[in-house]
């Protein structure tokens, strides 16, 4: 078998670990995703193995690996680290090489990153120390409503009379949800209200430029959030092919650069 040259990006998020493999032509040829769990390094290794398998490559083919995300310093096979802000920027610019605002909705944090037409970051913002508007908020609510997380997207899209939730706070929102249940509101209407709350919290973080890209696990699994955002912003939102992998792809692109 002819040896390939591959570049690896590892994104250890608070919720999921993602590995992306790019070939020398920047083609995204391998990927894997798992719960980050409690052994970040171990999870990254398992992901690497399956991403390389998908790419039909071996560890000997790796030219360089860059890690990112909360667990970026825990990856034994990584050569260097970059922040998730840098990697999401690079990953989104890889898909949309133009001036963009990236909205990344992750398990524990949200980011809004502005990138100019040359791919340079102009500025960025992360959410405050609060679950509002993050995946953690939806996870908490799915537990309270006893609805599997993966069913929320379909439920929200069935809503005919969305419930409005006004609070910033996850605990206060939970109280509002209980109040709506008590008043006999339908579950799809409550779930759509939860989605709306996530979007509002994120959009409150910063102003947006013309082209908006949405990424992250919450977006990947709940594409209805994107339609709702389009409705609120009255414009088309760009979504990369693998919204949960932009950080890992960005890291692999940095591996290629350096």
């Amino acid at each position: 078998m002819q040896s390939k040259q591959v570049y690896v990006g590892v994104d250890i998020g608070s919720s999921r670990t993602k590995v992306a493999v790019l070939d020398a032509d920047k083609k995204f040829i391998g990927r894997a995703i798992l719960h980050s769990g409690t052994d970040f390094g171990g999870t990254a290794e398992v992901c690497l193995e399956s991403a390389l398998k998908m790419a039909d490559a071996s560890t000997y083919d790796i030219i360089k690996t860059i890690s990112t995300g909360y667990g970026r310093k825990n990856v034994s096979f990584s050569n260097d680290t970059k922040t998730e802000i840098a990697c999401h920027s690079a990953g989104c610019y890889y898909y949309f090489p133009e001036a963009i605002t990236v909205i990344d909705i992750g398990g524990q944090d949200n980011k809004i990153i502005k990138i100019d037409k040359n791919g340079r970051r102009i500025n960025f913002k992360m959410n405050r120390k609060c679950a509002a508007g993050t995946g953690a908020f939806l996870e908490e609510m799915s537990m309270r409503l006893n609805i599997p997380l993966e069913d929320m997207n379909d439920l929200a899209s069935q809503s005919t009379d969305m419930v409005k939730l006004g609070s910033f706070c996850t605990v206060f929102s939970a109280t509002e949800v209980l109040e709506n249940i008590r008043h006999g509101k339908k579950v799809p209407d409550i779930v759509k209200g939860l989605f709306y709350s996530v979007i509002k919290r994120v959009l409150e973080m910063d102003s947006l430029t013309d082209n908006v890209v949405m990424t992250g696990g919450v977006v990947a699994h709940n594409l209805y959030l994107v339609s709702m955002t389009e409705e609120i912003l009255k414009r088309k939102i760009l979504v990369p092919e693998y919204p949960q992998f932009t950080g890992a792809i960005g890291a692999a692109l940095f591996a290629m650069q350096e």
Binding site: S67, Y70, R72, K73, N74, V75, S76, F77, S78, N79, D80, T81, K82, T83, E84, I85, A86, D109, R120, R121, N123, F124, K125, M126, R128, K129
Partner: protein, 415 residues
């Protein structure tokens, strides 16, 4: 594995003398509290300390004590005791930490200075609300607790221009402090002694300004984090000769560093301005975080708050009134923005960090759009970090790290 970089911090020679200086200061207070030989006045950090010194009081500053509660990471354990008395977790964590620690009978002074068991009991408390309302609430709690008099100055806030009217009003309030203070100390006020204290305070202020401005040299021999501990004498001993002496020594050392081109941070690549309070419990961690990224946080509005260029012994009351009204903290956003723009130029700043301290709205300047306005006007990028001065329940280390690393990456990409 991509490991965390270990950072060697360069120690200042004067730091040792500074330690002794602070020890002498607290032992003198402790002795006075135990023997009753001298009267003790508590004073807010930008209160009229010169008057108190001129009248013969020993002056204790609770804010410095609370900063010690913060830097020793004791504050977070004691804040809840004040919260339980309905002092909200969202009001000044200097105040809540100090009240909480007092209620529990603990002080970081005991560990730092063996033999000291408690903070020195006040004979009188003197505030100036130029910095915030919370200092008055804080002092009022202790005044009730100790059953001692409390007097003060209601300073002006959001001031664009310090007018003669403001100066006269504040000067009058300061003069009005004299009769109640004479009653406490049992001695007549002597204007010449006030002139002496004001002259010494001005000398201290000039030296402190020169020390801070040494950071304009590239590489800077000083960091903001050093400044946070080196400012001790400017806060607790302005108006005295020992404060002047130690700052003369420190300035000499700074000049030596400049001559030797010795930067405080190895291979300084980025020069950062810090607006707002430090996170006392993370002073070292933050110092290492920035140094590890070859970034020097070298100037701040906070450390510069103890520069009082208006002080003039010829007109002690009026000049004190002007000096304490000119405080950055009590000014309008328009003034503050011009001030920061000047500092950006003076220090050759690449980026600004705004600390949004949850419990200190008065010393947080990014809540009304200032960061965006300054970015637009100067082109210098800024980063807002969320945290607190003392309450570590409001601090996220991981978020801080990621934000700062990403900010420095951004500066590097655009350099």
């Amino acid at each position: 594995m991509a490991e965390e970089k270990k950072v060697a911090r360069k120690k200042l020679r004067t730091a040792e003398a500074m330690g002794k200086f602070m020890a002498d200061y607290y032992y003198e207070l402790d002795n006075a509290a135990k023997t009753g030989e001298k009267k003790i006045a508590w004073c807010t950090s930008v209160g009229p300390a010169e008057i108190l010194r001129a009248m013969g009081f020993l002056v204790y500053f609770p804010e410095t004590h609370s900063a010690m509660l913060g830097s020793s990471r004791m504050a977070t354990d004691y804040i809840p005791y004040a919260n339980a008395l309905d002092y909200s977790p969202e009001v000044c964590s200097y105040m809540t930490a100090d009240i909480g620690a007092f209620l529990q009978g603990v002080t970081p002074l005991s560990k730092a200075f063996p033999g000291i068991q408690s903070i020195p009991k006040p004979d009188v408390l003197v505030f100036n609300t130029n910095q915030c309302r919370d200092v008055r609430d804080w002092f009022s709690w202790f005044a009730r607790r100790f059953n001692v008099p409390i007097v003060g100055v209601d300073g002006n806030r959001h001031v664009k221009v310090v007018t003669d009217t403001i100066v006269e009003s504040n000067a009058k309030q300061m003069e009005n402090l004299i009769p109640p203070l004479e009653k406490v100390i049992g001695k007549k006020f002597d204007i010449d002694k006030l002139r002496e204290a004001v002259a010494l305070s001005r000398k201290c202020s000039n030296l402190w300004k020169d020390i801070l401005e040494v950071a304009s040299v590239k590489p800077s021999p000083l960091t903001f984090f050093d400044g946070c501990t080196l400012m001790g004498p400017a806060v607790v001993a302005r108006g005295t000769q020992p404060a002047v002496d130690i700052y003369e020594q420190l300035l000499e050392e700074m000049k030596e560093r400049v001559k030797d081109k010795e930067g405080a941070v190895e291979n300084e690549k980025f020069r950062i301005y810090w607006d707002g309070m430090p996170v006392w419990g993370r002073l070292r961690a933050h110092s290492e975080l920035f140094a590890g990224l070859n970034a020097n946080v070298l100037a701040s509005t906070y450390c510069s708050s103890w520069i009082f260029t208006a002080l003039d012994p010829a007109e002690p009351f009026k000049s004190m009134a002007r000096a304490y009204s000119e405080l950055f903290n009590s000014r309008s956003d328009e003034y503050k923005e011009e001030y920061i723009k000047e500092k950006i130029k003076l220090y050759g700043i690449d980026g600004i960090i705004f600390h949004d301290a949850k419990t200190c709205p008065y010393n947080t300047n990014c809540r009304y759009g200032m960061s965006k306005r300054l970015e637009n006007e100067t082109g210098i990028p800024s980063l807002i970090i969320n945290g607190d001065l003392n309450d570590l329940r409001l601090v996220s280390d991981e978020q801080m790290k990621t934000n700062v690393e990403a900010f420095i990456e951004q500066l590097a990409e655009n350099k």
